[in-house]
């Protein structure tokens, strides 16, 4: 028998540190206003660190669609961020950076703590958010307005802490209420257009959760804790794939931390290679 004593949730600890560090980073200009240059300032929509411009690529896309023009400054900032997530994995943003996710995780804990029972647990397909993202881009194009930026709860969580203004506050409150009473992680899993955007980007990610089929005992712990959607783990746990390749994976590491059998790891692997290996495995299984 294997030792089932609880192990240290390494990934979650690291991830929490990063999440709070990001939160703090965005608050620095307000916590300690240093005369002159702040080494960092801005919001999640756009910021500057040590003079390097960083812009939310989905926001930038909306601006490009809305204004029907492309500006270099905008591109530079957006491409920098885009490249980062493109190389690691799109929804790493959701798992490691986004403050809304952090807060929703916290809400989820609270809900469990207070044992709030949901009368409905609405489920929406996780691909819906891609459609929402597309609609938003279309709307931006049609209305000449960066539509989502007006309601964006992500920017607003930051701004909200700072300025307490904006419609985003309402969308954020709506999300929290939904989370606590009606649906589990519906926002992050299925609705958030930024998540949708990164879901698409995530296809190209070069870091993956890898399974060791020899160790997996199919306890399904991993599926229960998955922040994205349990179904992204189905191919690896139940269908013999080696790598989790779904665009939705946030590399949050929860599945790794909760696997009592050490069957899961996060490994770097080129996306194409990972897919190829998955396919080969499938072919192997079929043939076997």
């Amino acid at each position: 028998m294997k030792n089932h004593s609880k192990k240290l949730p390494k990934w979650t600890i690291v991830r929490r540190i990063v999440q709070f560090a990001v939160l703090l980073l965005f608050l620095t200009p307000f916590l300690a206003e240093i005369e002159g240059e702040n080494f960092f300032f801005g919001t999640l929509s756009s910021s500057e660190i040590l003079g390097i411009m960083l812009t939310d690529p989905f926001g930038a896309l909306q601006i490009i669609f809305a204004s029907k023009t492309v500006h270099t400054v905008l591109l530079i900032g957006a491409v920098t961020i885009f490249a980062f997530y493109f190389l690691i994995r799109g929804r790493v943003f959701c798992g490691w950076v986004c403050p809304v996710n952090l807060i929703l995780e916290f809400c989820n804990r609270l809900r469990k703590l207070f044992k709030i029972k949901k009368r409905y647990d609405v489920k929406v397909n996780r691909y819906t958010k891609i459609w929402i993202a597309l609609i938003i881009l279309a709307l931006s194009f049609a209305s000449s307005l960066p539509v989502y930026e007006m309601f964006n709860p992500i920017g607003t969580v930051m701004k909200g802490i700072i300025f307490a203004t904006g419609l985003g506050v309402w969308s954020f409150i709506a999300i929290v209420i939904a989370e606590v009473f009606f649906a589990t992680r519906i926002w992050c899993r299925s609705l958030c257009p930024i998540g949708g955007f990164y879901q698409v980007v995530g296809k190209a990610g070069n870091f993956h959760v890898k399974i060791d089929h020899d160790k997996c005992i199919h306890c399904n712990h991993c599926k229960q804790v998955c922040l994205a959607d349990s179904e992204i783990l189905v191919p690896v746990v139940d269908q013999g794939a080696i790598y989790v390749t779904a665009g939705d994976c946030m590399l949050c590491g929860k599945c790794v931390d909760h696997c009592n059998d050490n069957a899961l790891r996060i490994v770097p692997k080129l996306a194409l290679v990972a897919k190829k290996e998955n396919d080969m495995k499938k072919v192997e299984e079929k043939s076997a």
């Binding site: 756009s46 500006h71 709307l139 960066p146 007006m150 964006n152 920017g155 701004k159 300025f163």
Partner: protein, 218 residues
């Protein structure tokens, strides 16, 4: 695995997306989207008379280009840039200035323009590039026009003797006093609003900034 499999894979994903779209949900989204579009177009009319920070292009393209990141707000050393709330319609989240509560001080290096990640605020190299609006004198309430030595707007103007000049004219029915009439020169006035901020007359303020390019809606 050959190329074909790869392509298949991609299509499989797309297929899933389409298959998973419930028709009803799609309809709802469509209707919602259209309704949202209507609402937005209506709300858009609501932002016309707001004074934008330096370097904002005309209102429509400003609204299109502003990513609502608040960097200009944070960058402003004088804390005069405010963020639009729900009452600003689609201008929600966009930066604006209320001169009476704090006018643009026309910083030499324009940090707000400098930090803008889009072209929403751009094209400002020197003060004369700024075209936020133009000052308008309320001739009924200006106390200088009544002969009092005020002209606070003139002396406070960062473009003194250009944007605002004084027209010296004899006071009617009084041959020993002059009226120091502030004259606003549209070609020089950048609309920073310092005159409006400083004006000593309240309710209504005797000099106000008319935001740039107010054009007919009809």
């Amino acid at each position: 695995m050959d190329e074909r499999t790869k392509v298949q894979y991609v299509f499989l994903d797309m297929e899933k997306v389409v298959l998973n779209m419930n028709f009803l949900t799609g309809l709802k989204v469509l209707v919602g989207g259209l309704a949202g579009y209507q609402l937005l177009s209506l709300m858009k009319k609501g932002t016309r008379s707001v004074l934008r920070p330096p370097g904002a292009s005309d209102e429509d393209s400003f609204l299109a280009q502003c990513i609502r990141c608040d960097k200009c707000v944070q960058a402003c050393p004088h804390d005069v840039i405010k963020v639009g709330d729900a009452s600003h319609g689609v201008g929600i989240g966009t930066p604006y200035i209320v001169p009476r509560e704090g006018a643009c001080q026309l910083c030499e290096d324009f940090p707000c323009v400098e930090v803008c990640p889009t072209e929403a605020l751009s094209g400002i190299k020197k003060v004369s590039d700024v075209k936020m609006g133009v000052a308008v004198l309320d001739r009924e309430n200006c106390i200088a026009l009544k002969g009092n030595r005020c002209e606070v707007c003139y002396r406070a103007c960062p473009l003194i003797d250009q944007a605002i000049t004084i027209n010296y004219k004899l006071r009617e029915g009084d041959n020993i006093h002059t009226i120091f009439e502030p004259i606003i020169n549209k070609e020089y006035c950048v609309g920073c609003g310092i005159c409006e901020e400083r004006c000593v007359v309240s309710e209504p303020v005797a000099i106000r900034i008319k935001p740039r390019e107010i054009e007919g809606l009809f």
